[in-house]
Amino acid sequence: MLAIPALATAAVLVLAGCGSRAGDTAEADAGTAAAGSCIDTSGDTIKLGFLNSLTGGMAISEQTVSNVLHMAADEINADGGILGKQIEYIQEDGATDWPTFAEKTEKLLTQDCVAAIFGGWTSSSRKAVKPVVEENNGLFFYPVQYEGLESSPNIYYTGATTNQQIIPAMDYLAAQGVKTLFLAGSDYVFPRTANAIIKLYAAELGIEIVGEEYVPLDKDDWTTQVSKIVAADPDFVFNTINGSSNVGFIKAYYDAGLTPETTPIISVSIAEEEAPAMGHEVTGNYASWNYFQSLETPNNPGFIERWQAYPDSSGVTSDPMEAAYISLYLYKALAEAAGSFEVDDINAAAAEGGITVDAPEGVVTLDGENHHISKPGNIGRINADNQFDIVWSSDGFIEPDPYLEGYDWFPADVRDALVAAAG
């Protein structure tokens, strides 16, 4: 019965070893206790962490992001590295499991002592990473368009926030004279939040929402929901479906006899990577992004060429991978402006403003306050080669506004409550 004394000892240890409690004076210190950075800058390399799902359901999307990050790291290294140090990247697998994202973030920050982490795709993975980078005062660069209404001193967002993708899409629809809109999305935080914003803005624009349907992320069967679209007969369908569920939706849409002529779809998650899996059935529909492979900018041809020559290339370029590519260059720009790899120095450099990256989508500027970047709004129409013909572009770059402060139709109490909750 040795275990009993052992347990008793443990109980004593537990009680003796208590740390700070809520309301303690020590609490304020505890919040930053773990913040001591362990970034090693003594050698001639700098460690960065890449965190993408290489296995599990999201591997279908995130593998490309991981590959393009490798390409960007190779490019920067060939060009002399960051502050004269070669990038040594540590690739971790998030395994499509949000707690694994949290665990690997902690590992990268506290065990590997990386200077920054790049990756994530779903909003859920970002929300799993957020508390961990904040607690350890690390840096996380997130490359995918998302639902906005978030900001963190420890996260930089190189994908679009709502006012750079969804609001331009709504403006485009309004300009086309759309009167009725049907919302179809996957059942998780991005579509739910995006649709909440769409409904608010639609009311402002005088567009009627004639239906709203959600299907679990990993389900392909959309037949019943498409029947509802047929019955509702909307002018346009706003599609916030993510992943392979899109294929099932497009097939059901096509089979039901819906066409881009009668009931066009505008998507925010179908890009050059995803479109080929839907074949010709998606042709003629629209997508709202910031970057398209067909974009005519000075940097784009070189980017496409380098990517197509890269060994792990998927052959096409798309918005999320371009945003991931930007994220590494944004970090380079920040570290060089700060002259340091320390998180606080980098945030200080960001706050000073004027950080730009000459990206494939154009020269993007970092907003030092909300850590998002300016982006051009573009709407593309899918052609027979599963590429996008650009049908609309914003006047210049759109400044990021994650809390929609420039839009008075967005309820101020929601904004205030969210800002207060974010601290």
């Binding site: 591997a59 389900k219 392909d220 037949t223 019943t224 047929v230 059901a252 089979d255």
Partner: protein, 294 residues
């Protein structure tokens, strides 16, 4: 009227797809007692074979018809390999077949992810399947009709094969009393292999149908496996008519629940309803009495 017609027809088509997915299981699980969790990945194999056929025979009008027998054979061979390599050592441990095949499923998914483009591949529907027919004012997609016809064809062939062919007789004999069948000169090992081949092959056919409905990618099999097993259990194991009824009922239930609530809630309600149903009829809709020892 439309609110009733469309879920009824959609549900019937969904039920047909579930039936195709479950039909192979009535053989491998129902007749042989093997819980093959890699059945979903055999469905995936069928879908990828449909894609590969299309890369060789460009015309989707022809290739889909060619893909059906090829997927049957391809998935069947995978099943045969599984039977010879692993399952044959496990007939005395039915529950353990579940664990073994979970491992097989994991490996097959990862292999598919590495061989094919991660985003999945397109399988084009043939022209003769694009379009709708009018049913009481509801434009019913031809592809749904195709799924139903395909399921019916597979069902009838399987039933006839089991009931009237000498193979079928031998399978039934082996299932009912292995020792007696062996004594009567039936090579039960061969029967096991053929049954497993056909059961897995049917998953391949289901895969071709699935490739016309959803995405063809490494994860596609996972969404079919649990509903397929539930259908077999609810129908009464080894009972084809029960499986048909259960698949249809589940398809209808899913469609009506999705019509009234949301796609997610439909899943929850249908699963819970099935579990409750099995409380009252644990042996499923129909029962078979075997000479298996308890």
């Amino acid at each position: 009227m439309d609110a009733l017609i469309s879920p009824l027809l959609n549900g019937t088509a969904l039920g047909a797809l579930l039936l195709l997915a479950a039909l192979g299981l009535t053989l491998t699980f129902g007749q042989m007692g093997v819980i093959n969790m890699a059945h979903g990945e055999f469905i995936m194999a069928g879908a990828f074979i449909a894609y590969l056929t299309q890369t060789v025979v460009a015309s989707s009008n022809v290739s889909i018809l060619l893909a059906l027998p090829l997927a049957f054979i391809g998935a069947g061979l995978l099943g045969l390999l599984l039977e010879i390599g692993i399952i044959q050592w496990m007939y005395r441990r039915p529950l353990d077949t579940l664990l073994v095949t979970v491992g097989v499923a994991l490996i097959l998914q990862q292999v598919a992810l590495q061989i094919f483009p991660a985003q999945g591949v397109p399988v084009e529907a043939p022209d003769w399947l694009s379009g709708q027919i009018d049913v009481f004012g509801y434009a019913w997609p031809l592809r749904q009709v195709f799924t139903i016809v395909l399921a019916a064809l597979c069902l009838v062939s399987l039933a006839v094969w089991l009931k009237y062919s000498s193979f079928g007789r031998r399978i039934r004999a082996t299932v009912q009393n292995r020792d007696l069948a062996e004594t009567s000169g039936i090579r039960t090992r061969n029967i096991d292999r053929i049954t497993f081949f056909v059961g897995s092959g049917l998953a391949g056919v289901a895969g071709v149908a699935a490739s016309l409905i959803g995405g063809t990618n490494s994860q596609m099999g996972t969404q079919y496996i649990i509903p397929a097993f539930l259908v077999v259990v609810a129908g009464g194991v080894g009972q084809i008519k029960g499986t048909v009824l259960a698949a249809w009922a589940l398809g209808i239930a899913l469609s009506f629940f999705a019509e009234w609530t949301t796609g997610s809630m439909a899943q929850v309600l249908a699963f819970v309803l099935l579990v409750v149903f099995l409380q009252f009829r644990p042996q499923g809709l129909f029962t078979v009495r075997t000479r298996g020892l308890t």
